[in-house]
Amino acid sequence: MSFRERFARWLFRLGRDEHLPVVLTRRRIFILPTGAGILYAIVLVVMLIGAINYNLSLGHALVFLLAGIGLVGMVHTFRNLLELQLHPGRAEPVFSGETAYFQLHLDNARLLPRYALEFSIGRNGGVLCDVPPEEQTVVAVPFATTRRGRIDPGRITLASRYPLGLFRVWSYPHPPLSCLVYPRPIETPFPPASPASQSGGTTGITGQEDFSGLRQHQSNDSPRHIAWKAVARDIEHRPLLVKQFDGGAVEELWLDWSLTPEAADVEKRLSLLAGWVVRAEREHRRYGLRLPGRSIPPCSGTTHRSVCLEALALYGD
């Protein structure tokens, strides 16, 4: 750790917050004048010189009033962050390269509202939000992902210039946040069916081609297969029914690590596999995933997709 980094750690009390909720106490809130604040000060000094030069007593009064407003504004800016409580929330998984949104639950236990709180992570764009007095709000902080895995975005920068923009107050809360990032999918044609991937493929009971009847809806069924007409006939009493299909080219697809080009690096291979998973799910195929040391039996549905993608995301961890 460089000296500069260590200095910053000491000064800004960086480091992960172990106790939840994170409370922004006054020792971890920092404040400095902004460019606008410095300009304001210069304008006031020039005005004061003018007032002295022309012996304008009310000019003195005006300058003093404005100086007072600036100072009181500083206290207001500080107050805007003080004792704000943060609870880390969840973040929906995303593909690498997409923007993840980390939810934070903000709790304002004070009697005064907090305005224009600006949350950002690193160099990512920020998001603004207000928290009314004695209320809670959820804010989603964007973070551009670049690699797969379970990522920790690091500390959050929470800043505010309210009310006058003359001072910027900031804090670096570091609540435990994490988000699952899937490999960036590269869509290519499916691999040629290898003998291994054919196992049991032809004997499948259900398929995609011929309508064979209705059955009750299960949570994992694709919404496309719901028999909407049948449901509409008697929406009050009938359970949701799902069309079942038979026969045809029912095929279980095995998306196998060994089918990806061996020359490619791990990330590329994972991306190819992720692309197949995405495509297979979109085309309502039954697919299984085989990774070195792990095998997920064929199935379909959003849950299955998530399981497969998570396995890809965490591969090698």
Binding site: N53, Y54, L56, A61, L66, P163
Partner: protein
Amino acid sequence: MVIERIRTILGRNRRREKPAPVPLERGVIPWLLAVALATSLPHAEHLPLWLTLIFSTLLIGRTWLWQRNARLPARWLLALIAITGTAGIAWHYRTLFGRDAGVALLVFFMALKPLELHARRDGLVIVMLGFFLLLTHYFHSQSIPTGLWLFATTILLTATLIRMNGGGPSPRRILGDAATLVAQALPLMLVFFLFFPRVQGPLWGLPRDAHAGLTGLSDRMSPGSLNQLIQSGEIAFRAQFTSPLPARSQLYWRGPVLDLYDGLTWRANPRNALRSANKPAAVEILRPNFADYTLTLEPHNQRWLLALDLPISFPEGTGLWPTFETLAREPVRYRTRYSFRSALDHAANRDETPRMRTQSLRLPANLNPRTRQLAREWQETLGDPERISAAALRFFRDEKFFYTLQPPLLGEHAIDEFLFDSRRGFCEHYAAAYVVLMRAAGIPARVVTGYQGGEINPIDGYLTVRQSDAHAWAEIWLEGRGWTRVDPTAAVAPSRIERGIGAALPAGDPLPALVRVDGDWLRRLQQLRHRWEAANNAWNQWVIGYNPQRQREVLSRIGMKSPDWRMMSLALAAGSTLILAFVAIGMLCRRTKAPADQRAWLDLCRALERHGIHRLPWEGPFALAERVCREHPELSEITKEAAGCYATLRYGETNSPEHLRALQNCTKRLASRRRKTR
């Protein structure tokens, strides 16, 4: 482009990427337009009409663009308008650097800037420009209404800053927040105002037009010049007497003495200023009849100070001149306080130099033959100067002279026409005619201008002297008595001296309403005016007139023995820190109070902590009690009771104070138990 390429070649293109400027919300624009209007509007009175028209056109145009959500004009068009406007201002004022031209430029740019509002930065520029424009209002007026207007405008500017920095869309709430902020800043302003070490300006030379438009007496008197002054109800100065108020007929406030006459205009002889050429003024006190008073002089951009006839002690930096005017070293450009002592019964320069005496006899040849004739007759028949003077006054009294502010125009032999034909005029005519008569009769005489009388404000006891009290009288030099005041106007219209100009004028003569005294509603109006002027005077004395001298006075009155800038800075720092701390404590410590039952329960938990039992975050009262039973059986009874009480309070149907008391009692017992075990 080229520079960019060169940088690339030189490998210097490492400029850090600047973040894109924060765009301006559409909702902020009406606020900024309001700022432009509110800060510029009071200037309209002092700006050329064409600039006001351009200002309103640009502002209305901008509002229209905002409503239509249309694109802003191109840069070249703005540049064109800017150059044209600047050139117009330069042409109008003949400069760009004077005070008025500077203000005009500021106003012009205030109208122009809204046309290139893109980023928040541009909005900030408008607000800062607004602050500057607020200050420039004070060049023209520092009255109470101006102060209030600027206070309101400051709230508007603060609200605009709040709006720009995420205050939300509700104007009412933003204005409320801004008002709160300004109200919290007020005590700080007061401390700063009181303790900030004042410096007497100016710090450097002021532009030539810095003191334009100040009214008052002038060092010359031609027909009609005083007349205009008398029409004005403006205040010339205020006097506060510490001795008993002298009789009204003694209230002659001496201004410039005019002793050169060319047949039309009376002038002060500039050579009188040369002390070496003349005998210095010598005032002999005949009887100990003194007046002690402090004048608060309105700025008139001249050096004379209008002391009561004749001053014997002066404030620093002023002095008596050979013709007995009190002069300051510099022209009076700010409202200033001067303390004087005057001797009301005096003799002035009994041994005047022959040079001054002959100067005071000079008359233009070939003018006013009839007047000279009359004076010569008096000189031959009466001989004695005092009797000649009495004859002249008798002449004014017995012949049909009228006191009026609307005299007919006079021709070449002005004094002849006045004395023998028109016989209508006011103080300047009588004084001039009298002096010409005396000079023609061989008696040294001169015209004195100044103010006569004044009006006591019953609210604060100050004597107010207005421009309408401007007066001209005469002085003759008598052997053995020196310069003696003679007021020929008193012979014609004694009420002018006894009761003021309003009483002296015949009904129907136009005069500012303020000066008239008749009518019941007018009297009531006058009462109101007295109140208003007393408030104004207090404002002038304590706010506007708060200069280094006044500051020392005030600070020593509140207990600072020898206030120097170090003491003041200390008081300033201490006072402002204290106030800021108060504001901060009031704001930062405003937290919600937990309900009483919860507080009591938390108190109990804290008491348990001292026994080494920490409640886990998810533990309810009963779970905690159970654990205490297991781990600290000796405390189980109290904890169980407390848990029961808290559960009843929290989840029971009735809110019983007994349970609350029981719970608090448990806490006390826990605490006392701790002390015993120790």
